[in-house]
C-alpha cells in the first residue's frame, strides 16, 4: 500500500507558461534546459509535443530518451475538445508523477478567426482543467512567424511568460471564464434564409434522426461523422424539449464542405456558463456530460443563450 503522504492530499498548483521565442537557437536555449530539468526530477514525467523541425532538433539533444516521449504536434492538436480530453488522460496515466510538458499548439494560416479562437480557448481552459495536477506546461510561440493576434492570445491565456531568457507575470492574462465569455461574444449568428426547418413537437426523436441522417449522407459526410452528428443533434434536441420553452425546432444548412444544424427553443438558459461542456466530467453521472459529449462528437459547437431563446449550433465538415 502507498503511504498517505502530505503531497498526495494537497492540491498541487499548475505551472502554465507561454514561451515567446524567435528562431531555433532561442528555442533550444530555453527548451533544452526545461526538458533536462524534467528528466532530472524523479517526480516528473516529460512529454514533448512540438512541431516537426523543432521536434527533430530536441530529439537529437536527448538521444537516450524513449521515443514515445516525443509527439508530433500536428497529430496531437486535431480538435480542441478531444485534445483536452486526451491531454487529461495523459496526465492521469502518469499520476502520481507530474507531467512536465513542452507543448506547442498548432496554428494554421488557413484557419478562420473562429477556429483560431477555439484553440486560444483551449489554451485558456488548460488553466481550469489542470489547475490542481501539479503539471508544468511550457508552451512555445514562435514570434518570428505567428501573427500579433495569436501572440496576444498567448499573453491572455498564460499567467506567466518566458521571453529573452527571463520570466515574468503576464499582465494581460484573463481567467478562463472571462476569456471564454469573450470568445463567445465574437460569434456571428445569422441563420441563412434558405435553411431547412423541422419543428420538434414530440419527445420521440426518431424522425429527427432520420431527417438529419439523410441530409448528412447527401452532403457526403463520412458514415461515422454522419452518425456522430445525428447523436449530437438528438442530444441537444432532447435537452431543448426537456428544459426549453416551445416552439422547439432545428434549422439545417450547408456552407461549402460544412453542414450546420442549429437547435433552438424560446427558453432562457439563465445559468449558462462560458465553460459549459468544455471541462471533461469525471463520469457520465456528472452534470455537463451531455454537452461535453456533443462537443466531442462534432467539429464545433456554439451556444447562444440569450433573452430571445437558446440556440445551439453544431458544425460537421466533409
Amino acid at each position: 500500500m502507498t503511504p498517505f503522504t502530505r503531497e498526495a492530499v494537497e492540491p498541487r498548483p499548475l505551472e502554465h507558461r507561454a514561451f515567446l521565442f524567435g528562431g531555433m537557437d532561442d528555442f533550444l536555449g530555453t527548451a533544452v534546459p526545461f526538458v533536462r530539468e524534467g528528466l532530472e526530477d524523479d517526480d516528473r514525467s516529460v512529454v514533448v509535443v512540438v512541431k516537426g523541425t523543432r521536434l527533430e532538433a530536441l530529439r537529437d539533444h536527448f538521444p537516450g530518451c524513449v521515443d514515445d516521449m516525443f509527439i508530433d504536434a500536428d497529430a496531437f492538436y486535431d480538435h480542441p475538445v478531444r485534445t483536452l480530453r486526451s491531454y487529461l488522460e495523459l496526465v492521469k496515466a502518469k499520476d502520481p508523477r507530474r507531467v512536465h510538458a513542452l507543448a506547442e499548439p498548432v496554428w494554421q494560416a488557413g484557419w478562420s478567426e473562429r477556429e483560431t479562437l477555439e484553440w486560444a480557448r483551449y489554451e485558456s481552459l488548460i488553466n481550469e482543467v489542470f489547475q490542481d495536477t501539479g503539471a508544468s506546461a511550457l508552451c512555445p510561440y514562435d514570434t518570428s512567424t505567428l501573427p500579433p493576434r495569436i501572440l496576444e492570445h498567448a499573453r491572455r491565456t498564460h499567467p506567466r511568460l518566458v521571453q529573452d531568457g527571463g520570466e515574468s507575470e503576464s499582465r494581460r492574462f484573463a481567467p478562463p471564464r472571462e476569456f471564454s465569455a469573450g470568445v463567445d461574444r465574437t460569434r456571428v449568428f445569422p441563420t441563412p434564409q434558405d435553411s431547412e426547418y423541422l419543428p420538434l413537437t414530440s419527445h420521440d426523436l426518431h424522425e429527427l434522426r432520420q431527417w438529419v441522417g439523410d441530409r448528412a449522407d447527401r452532403h457526403g459526410l463520412p458514415g461515422q461523422d454522419a452518425q456522430n452528428l445525428v447523436t449530437a443533434v438528438n442530444e441537444v434536441a432532447a435537452n431543448a424539449l426537456r428544459h426549453g420553452i416551445p416552439p422547439v425546432g432545428v434549422r439545417l444548412w450547408t456552407d461549402g464542405p460544412d453542414l450546420f444544424c442549429e437547435v433552438g427553443d424560446h427558453g432562457y438558459w439563465s445559468d449558462f456558463s462560458p465553460l459549459a461542456g468544455f471541462v471533461p466530467p469525471k463520469t457520465a453521472l456528472e452534470s455537463g456530460f451531455g454537452l461535453w459529449t456533443v462537443r466531442l462528437l462534432v467539429d464545433l459547437v456554439e451556444v447562444r443563450a440569450g433573452w430571445d431563446g437558446t440556440f445551439v449550433r453544431m458544425r460537421a465538415g466533409r
Partner: protein, 285 residues
C-alpha cells in the same frame, strides 16, 4: 404461434422455459383447448400450473389437461424410447380432442433427456418428422419441443433448429416499433433492438430494474441489434450500473463499432461499472 406450428424452445434456465410454456398452457386452459403434456412430473409442478388457481383434478377428469408419463406416451415396456409410439400418442390425443369438445390441442414435451442419451441426437432428429406429421397437417394442433440448451449443447441445438419451422422465445417486454426490449437468459439480462432515445428511457429503466431485482451479479445487455443509443441513454445505463450490488457490472455484448464509437469517444472510464462483453458476432461468456 399458429395452429399447425411445431415450435422449438431452447431455454437457458427454468424461468425462461416457464415464461414461454406457462402462457402456452394457460392460454389453452383459459379457452376451449386441450393440453397434452408429456412428463414424469406431477401436474402441479408444471409451467403455468404451479401455484395457479385452476382445479387441476377437474381439468384432468374432463380430459382438457392430459399429463402423460413418458412410459404411457413414448417408452417401450423395457423403458426404451419408441418414436412410433410417441407419434401414435400425439395422433390419438389430437383425434380424440374434437370428440371431447375441444376446438384445438396444444402438446409439449421436454426432449432434453432424449438428447443426452447415447445415440439420442439421431433418434430425436429422425422422430421430428413423425411429430411434425402429427401436428403440422392439422388446423387445430400446436406443439412445443423443449430443450435445455446448456445440457444438450449449442451444436446439437443448432442441428435441431433446422428441423423446426418456429423457434419460440420469450415475448418482448416492450416493443413500439422503434425499440424492442426482451428478457434474455443465457447470459441473463436484456436484449435491446432498434433505437434508444429519451422518450424510451423510462421503459428501459423499468425493465432493467426488474431484471436487476430478480438476479444477483452481472446483467448482460445484448445490443447486437441496437442501431442507436443517445447520450442520455449512456447516462441512464451508468446510473443503473451504480445501483448494482457490489461487484456487479452492466455488460454490453455485441456492440456495433458505429454505436461503440460514442462510448470510445467519452471513454469507458467515464461509465463506471459498464464494460464491453462479447465482441460483435462473438459468443457471450
Amino acid at each position: 404461434m399458429r395452429p399447425g406450428d411445431h415450435g422449438l424452445l431452447g431455454y437457458a434456465d427454468t424461468e425462461e422455459r416457464d415464461r414461454v410454456v406457462g402462457p402456452f398452457v394457460q392460454a389453452a386452459l383459459a379457452t376451449e383447448e386441450k393440453v397434452v403434456y408429456i412428463t414424469d412430473d406431477p401436474a402441479e409442478r408444471l409451467p403455468g400450473l404451479e401455484r395457479c388457481s385452476l382445479d387441476l383434478a377437474k381439468l384432468k377428469s374432463s380430459r382438457q389437461l392430459r399429463v402423460l408419463s413418458r412410459r404411457e406416451a413414448c417408452l417401450s415396456r423395457t423403458g426404451v424410447f419408441e418414436p412410433a409410439k410417441l407419434a401414435d400418442t400425439l395422433f390419438r390425443e389430437r383425434e380424440s380432442a374434437f370428440g371431447e369438445g375441444y376446438r384445438a390441442v396444444r402438446m409439449t414435451m421436454d426432449s432434453t433427456w432424449l438428447l443426452t442419451e447415447p445415440g439420442g441426437p439421431d433418434i430425436v432428429l429422425s422422430c421430428e418428422d413423425r411429430v411434425d406429421q402429427a401436428i403440422s397437417p392439422s388446423t387445430m394442433a400446436m406443439g412445443i419441443c423443449q430443450i435445455d440448451v446448456h445440457r444438450c449443447g449449442t451444436h446439437q441445438f443448432n442441428a435441431l433448429r433446422k428441423s423446426h419451422e418456429v423457434v419460440m422465445r420469450v415475448d418482448a417486454e416492450f416493443d413500439d416499433g422503434i425499440l424492442t426490449i426482451r428478457r434474455i437468459y443465457g447470459p441473463f439480462g436484456l436484449q435491446l433492438r432498434g433505437e434508444l432515445d429519451a422518450s424510451r428511457h423510462s421503459h428501459l429503466s423499468e425493465h432493467l430494474l426488474r431484471a436487476m431485482a430478480s438476479r444477483e451479479g452481472d446483467i448482460h445487455l445484448n445490443v447486437a441489434g441496437l442501431d442507436f443509443i443517445d447520450i442520455g441513454g449512456l447516462n441512464l445505463l451508468a446510473q443503473h450500473a451504480a445501483e448494482l450490488p457490489r461487484g456487479g457490472s452492466l455488460i454490453l455484448d455485441h456492440l456495433r463499432p458505429d454505436v461503440e464509437n460514442v462510448i470510445t469517444m467519452v471513454g469507458w472510464n467515464r461509465l463506471p461499472r459498464l464494460r464491453p462483453g462479447a465482441p460483435m458476432g462473438g459468443a457471450a461468456s
